[in-house]
Symmetry: C2
Subunit: 690 residues, 2 copies
Amino acid sequence: MRLGFGLQRICSTITPANPLIFRSHPLPVVLIYRSSSNMASEVNRTAHAFDKTRFEALLNRRFFYAPAFEIYGGVAGLYDYGPPGSSLQANIINEWRKHFIIEEHMLELDTTIMTPSPVFETSGHVARFADWMVKDTKTGDVLRADHLVKNVLESRLAGHNEASGLAAAPPSEDKKRKKKGAKAAAVALPDEAVKEYETILAQLDNYTGPELGELCRKHDLRNPDTNNEVGEPQQFNLMFKSSIGPTGQHPGYLRPETAQGHFLNFSRLLEFNNGRVPFASAQVGRSFRNEISPRAGLLRVREFTMAEIEHFVDPDNKNHERFSEVKDVVLVLLDRHIQESGGSTTVNMSVGEAVEKGIIANETLAYFMARIYQYLIKIGINPERLRFRQHMGNEMAHYATDCWDAEIHNASGWTECVGCADRAAYDLSVHAARTGAQLVVREALKEPIVTEKEVAEWNKKVLGKTYKADAGVIQQIVDAMDELELLRLKGELAQGEAVIKSSDGKEFNLTPDVVTIERKTFKQSIREYTPNVIEPSFGLGRILYTLLEHSYWSREQDVERGVLSLPPLVAPTKVLIVPLSAREEFDPLIKEVSSKLRRAGVFSRVDDSNTSIGKRYARNDELGTPFGVTLDFASVQKGTMTLRERDTMDQRIGAIDEVIAVVTELVFGNINWAEACRRLPAYDGKQDVD
Amino acid sequence: MRLGFGLQRICSTITPANPLIFRSHPLPVVLIYRSSSNMASEVNRTAHAFDKTRFEALLNRRFFYAPAFEIYGGVAGLYDYGPPGSSLQANIINEWRKHFIIEEHMLELDTTIMTPSPVFETSGHVARFADWMVKDTKTGDVLRADHLVKNVLESRLAGHNEASGLAAAPPSEDKKRKKKGAKAAAVALPDEAVKEYETILAQLDNYTGPELGELCRKHDLRNPDTNNEVGEPQQFNLMFKSSIGPTGQHPGYLRPETAQGHFLNFSRLLEFNNGRVPFASAQVGRSFRNEISPRAGLLRVREFTMAEIEHFVDPDNKNHERFSEVKDVVLVLLDRHIQESGGSTTVNMSVGEAVEKGIIANETLAYFMARIYQYLIKIGINPERLRFRQHMGNEMAHYATDCWDAEIHNASGWTECVGCADRAAYDLSVHAARTGAQLVVREALKEPIVTEKEVAEWNKKVLGKTYKADAGVIQQIVDAMDELELLRLKGELAQGEAVIKSSDGKEFNLTPDVVTIERKTFKQSIREYTPNVIEPSFGLGRILYTLLEHSYWSREQDVERGVLSLPPLVAPTKVLIVPLSAREEFDPLIKEVSSKLRRAGVFSRVDDSNTSIGKRYARNDELGTPFGVTLDFASVQKGTMTLRERDTMDQRIGAIDEVIAVVTELVFGNINWAEACRRLPAYDGKQDVD
């Protein structure tokens, strides 16, 4: 829970809004997976319930990522990506660049992480980018206040359900509660308590720190690890602080988002874009948040890679040129009204309809929501576990028009992975006010706006002579008049004399030799405005983690044989080359196949380690490598090669060049596995390679 | 100048070793540029002397990069990259990944920037990653001590040369001195002073802080900005410090290099590589150094992107499998002996010969030097402004075997851009010693090593009964014996009895029923060792900046018309599409050409701004866009398109698809401009597009 205007953005919370939905799908992993890599074949990926422990062991074993500084005991919330994790991340970023930056001609930026304090004073981060923490009254351990409330209440509700026989807690949930040391006793609660807890959880994002403290006292919420009481919530700023230069006089912060770097460069970007709006800047980079007590793996970390877009748009026209291309994209929407009334029912609706009905505020926001959806599906996120949740009234920044989070479902529930907000003119306005820089668009009007109005024309000489010290007051009175008053004055002057009154009741006589009122024409040919900002903001680590979870399953015949069905588009390695053995006779063929694949633009790796082909394939199933080719004696003698598909373990055979052609088309998504099977006969060799 | 073992690495100093060379080429930009983009045509790129002010104005105007937080007044040493700078950087990184990671099957990592203090305590950074600073005694301004010495002495030498009529100071140097407020008076110096200053400058990297203080006093070196005296040099640690977590008890630092992240993950990397050595890890990422007083643009910054390789190798075998592929690559070498004797003469030598002659320590180090050279040339660095300088004895880390810097010449002199060091086993050893982690390779020996030795066999029962409390002492005495002593004891026991003595002179009689000495065979089948590390470390910002400088020139007819002759490989945009006007009739053609180029893998941009074609091309010459295609009425009517080459401004014409085919081959380097001219006739349209 964060305070105030729009600082509660991407990566700030695992949305706690829908424990109800979570409970109604106790085993969300048994959803039917769609075939992520365009394969037609049937594989039972739901033979085993999702086992988070096995899944995480696989990621650790294969070095997708690991706790940073592990040999020093590690530091909570800091992780290193190993070779497959780095590759997967690079591929996700690469697709992001193609999908957004190149496709939409965005202007890429790479701005600094270290930021001098005044920037974040202006943006509001120094004062308000904070979480509420509570201290264990005996051990001094620090907990995030809202997480404490969430964990204890959810645990009590789960215990209640168990006791009432309403639902057995799902095994993983149960284990989690026990591990956390929570009083997970299966105790039935009074009906009112159940209702009250559910209401609190649904509105958790709306509580202030003192209110969270009040909840802890009222419901006797204690540190689940020690059962000790906790103290009053205190604010903790989440930015890492440092100092720039040798004198210690220039405090700096590590950016908690890349956005300020875009706003500060607005004038340069506008100029680069030949002064035209709309345009978007984009940046992929590291950001930092000094989380109070991160425990959720890659879902809540202290250092993370983000991808942010700031789309600058005319506040008077938020239509999008390419909206027609996406208007039929159907999204799962959870709107603010449903949530505010305590519900969690989603609707499936095209973005076109949502804009028409006023559910999504404008076309540009809706355009980006649809594009976000397309991107996430393309890289392999399960569309059945993806929804767009609108921020509630109190949750949203006061200046923001509308804000939607793309939430991806995973073992921890629904997690905010992409934020998509209309931030209005806030950011540019505050930086302009603080620095005096003109962060505006000047637009030549096609048709100058011509206006006429009554204007006072003074004869300054006569004015001064006649009224002396009162001259200034008299001018002020007339200058403050509106059109109607001026017309009245004009009429009176036409009669020869007019009387005007100052605010303190003093009267002055005016005559036409001092002032006349005339109708004048004004022509405005430049329009000047502060553009609004639509901001899609991606937490790439969260996307990477949920993608891995969505891709994971175990072979029906053996729960220990894990597979990551990553789409070829993002898989760390596309093709594994497996020689039957490390014998030298295979070397020329390995070189040939690997260089032909490289020329075709397909990234392959050779595994010639001293272990069985089956074990090598099993290892690469865990690494998510979609295809494998085997070089054996038939390859040497007859020039054939087998092709294996990861998910089905199907094997086909063909001439080496033919197999290379087929696998290249598979990798680039031009054909699916069914088509590959039509082109290559099944491999019926006796040698069992699995 | 940094203290101690190997912390003086990439980005730590603009090497001051060769002011002599610098002075002997007062206008280094008049070197003959080679044609960087494979064009055969002749262009006079040296018509105008390099003008740093014009060059930097171009980079600023086109937003390659700009001071970060500019509207807040900026912060020294922090820069943001705009769209062309970001693109150029992304292309440089992309080529780096292909050239090193993919080509050499390196294991990529992405580790955290925020690092807990113990890691840098172990590595030595907390104690020693520091520069010496001095304070202006009146204003309190802080200066880097070695930079002060360098600037003042160089300025005096330049003044001397001017006064003696030896050489006019080059205008840019002169301006620099004046701007800095140095006493740049043209004063002749005594011969001894000239010699002494030159010796000091040549050995600047060898002075300690107190020695720098002594130099300031002896030669009356003052702050050039104020002419005030400076105080005693003090150490300033260059790492940015912060604190991890809410309690403030866990100090952390921003990494000053990515290397530690590789070393800490060594065991996981080794396992990922199936336990085999050699292998290399690689990482591209942000690092931070809190420079004392950065003033040199992108050459000395507080936040920068590095690319580092840690190649782990058997200390007993530093040959490289692929050395034969590079052994004939000729490098410009400046070896340590030449420098130590005060000289700066380089030799051109193949890396094969350099290894043979013992100038480069081993094949692996030489292999990487050659590969670094190939990479730098490929992206467009002028080979005539690239040399490899070996670290001098005192400059190099005490544990290092050898270290070479790839230095690139630019307007500031020779700048270290890539470091290439053999760091021996230092890093893994210190982390293993501190954490107890086994950072070693265990290698199954092909031939087990069989050894025989004499071993004492005790009858513990009899030993205890006979000697009681002395039993332990007796065992210790025998266990401490070497082979010879054991053989003597064996002989005595064979006689029936032996006498042994403890260190304090006590004697014990031993008989064969208590102990016998037997010859036993031992078989060692595993070899265990700490691998050595060869580390190529790239400062990407410095490479990017020097590449821009090497690419810059002005048209002969107009010094204001700047061109950046970036090779197509790294140019931010490959092809500019220029419609004659923004009229709608060109839209379908623009879409067609741009989508055909995209399909061919060529990144293009459309410039349909309301300005002349000539101005649009001039802007894109400044952006380094190598090719432009113009769509005009002939395109609409006859389906032709003109193709313009940036450096020569030559224009050719052909059918649209033909031009696309030619430009695609040009971009991928398959053909050069001469070949393109053979395929497409010259454009002789009357309309002057330049």
